[in-house]
């Protein structure tokens, strides 16, 4: 039975553009996935191309035409079929992109360690920041699900990401010039961790300075239905009433609105306010409450009397 996301998790996703489920997939399934792709030590790898060729030739990861339904995508009993059937993964997907989601694309990202680059006499560089996969002005959003079958240590780099950037509309590697962004994070995790990104979240692959190969299996999923209250089929969510602004009451408990209005250190003083407005607009779409507001950001400027 799918375990749908909570309203707090949805608010976290609306604000940060990402959710993580640490060590969610069991050890046996992680092992099956690694065995299936023929995981080996870096000394056994002659070239990136040969390694990929071998995985494509022998693993159970199918070629999936874009637009295929997720439920029809993976062979029964395969590690990936088990991962997507996990009640938490299934529930998160249903909450964000619905029950009839389709696959845009999938890829097994492999980041090779320093030893490989030395052997190949190549410069080892991290991947620049980017937003997948082209300029995307929709209100509809896709998600990218990441699966980490092994531990990812700090030395392994991890997937770098920038919480709260998902609603900034840019053109793919147009953000590559930002080498470092205040508040940047890297996914350092235990085996079996699942991450889910809003398709607009800025990210890039970190450089792998460890001795081991790093894997990240990614699937981009598209909705085929309106993404309104998918996590709350009984429509229990109700917006909170207005609260005092600036001259605030700190004794009040934190609410969903505090999650929605969280700021990030990389936001400009001026544009930060637009970022908040865009989170409120996003929350209106997710909840179906077309006039709801948080901290008066939209009510203030929707009060047009002429």
């Amino acid at each position: 039975m799918a375990k749908l996301l909570t309203t707090e998790q949805m608010a976290e996703f609306a604000n940060s553009g990402c959710l993580f489920f640490d060590e969610l997939i069991d050890e046996q399934t992680n092992k099956e996935f690694l065995d299936d792709i023929g995981h080996t030590e870096i000394d056994e790898v002659d070239s990136v191309q040969d390694y990929y060729r071998n995985i494509k030739a022998t693993s159970s990861i199918p070629r999936i035409p874009a637009g295929t339904k997720l439920k029809d995508a993976y062979p029964k009993g395969s590690p990936l079929e088990k991962i997507f059937a996990h009640e938490v993964v299934d529930g998160a997907i249903k909450s964000l992109v619905g029950s009839n989601t389709i696959i845009d694309h999938q890829f097994l990202h492999i980041t090779f360690p320093t030893k490989y680059f030395k052997q190949a006499n190549q410069r080892q560089m991290s991947q620049q920041n980017h937003q997948d996969s082209t300029i995307d002005p929709r209100s509809t959003f896709d998600v990218q699900l990441f699966y980490f079958p092994t531990e990812v240590t700090k030395a392994m780099g991890g997937t770098r990401y920038h919480p709260g950037t998902h609603l900034r509309i840019v053109n793919e590697f147009g953000i590559a010039k930002y080498q470092n962004i205040l508040g940047q994070k890297s996914i350092v995790c235990k085996p079996g961790t699942i991450g889910i990104f809003h398709s607009g979240l800025w990210h890039g692959a970190g450089v792998n300075f460890s001795e081991n190969i790093r894997y990240m299996f990614k699937v981009r999923l598209q909705p085929t239905e309106k993404q309104e209250l998918l996590w709350d089929p009984e429509k229990k969510y109700q917006p909170l009433p207005n609260r005092a602004l600036y001259w605030t009451d700190e004794s009040k408990d934190k609410t969903i609105n505090d999650i929605l209005m969280r700021s990030y250190p990389w936001q400009e003083a001026d544009t930060n306010r637009l970022d908040k407005i865009n989170v409120v607009k996003f929350w209106r779409l997710l909840t179906g409450h077309k006039k709801m507001d948080v901290d008066y950001w939209l009510t203030r400027i929707e009060n047009e009397l002429y």
């Binding site: 991947q127 900034r168 010039k177 930002y178 080498q179 470092n180 962004i181 400009e268 637009l274």
Partner: protein, 92 residues
Amino acid sequence: MAKRQKVLVLYLKLPSLEGEVISWATFDGTGKKLHMTGDSDEPPYPTGLDALLDGWRLFQASQAIPEHPGQEFRTSYLKHEFFFEKLEEGDF
């Protein structure tokens, strides 16, 4: 002695050099250090002004461009971009 350019790009919280650094990039034409994406979590200076005080010369700053009518709430690239340089002499 040859001259080489080092470029520092700072993105600030404000359109003023007094603004705090929120993003940064360094390109070292001397070849002494290879900078890359994600190589530091702490900014090289607290503000743009601090870079000037350390000898970096400002050579380009982003313009203030009014938001397009109807697109006032669309957010995109980082706004307050400042390019600095230092010239270094040496045998490269």
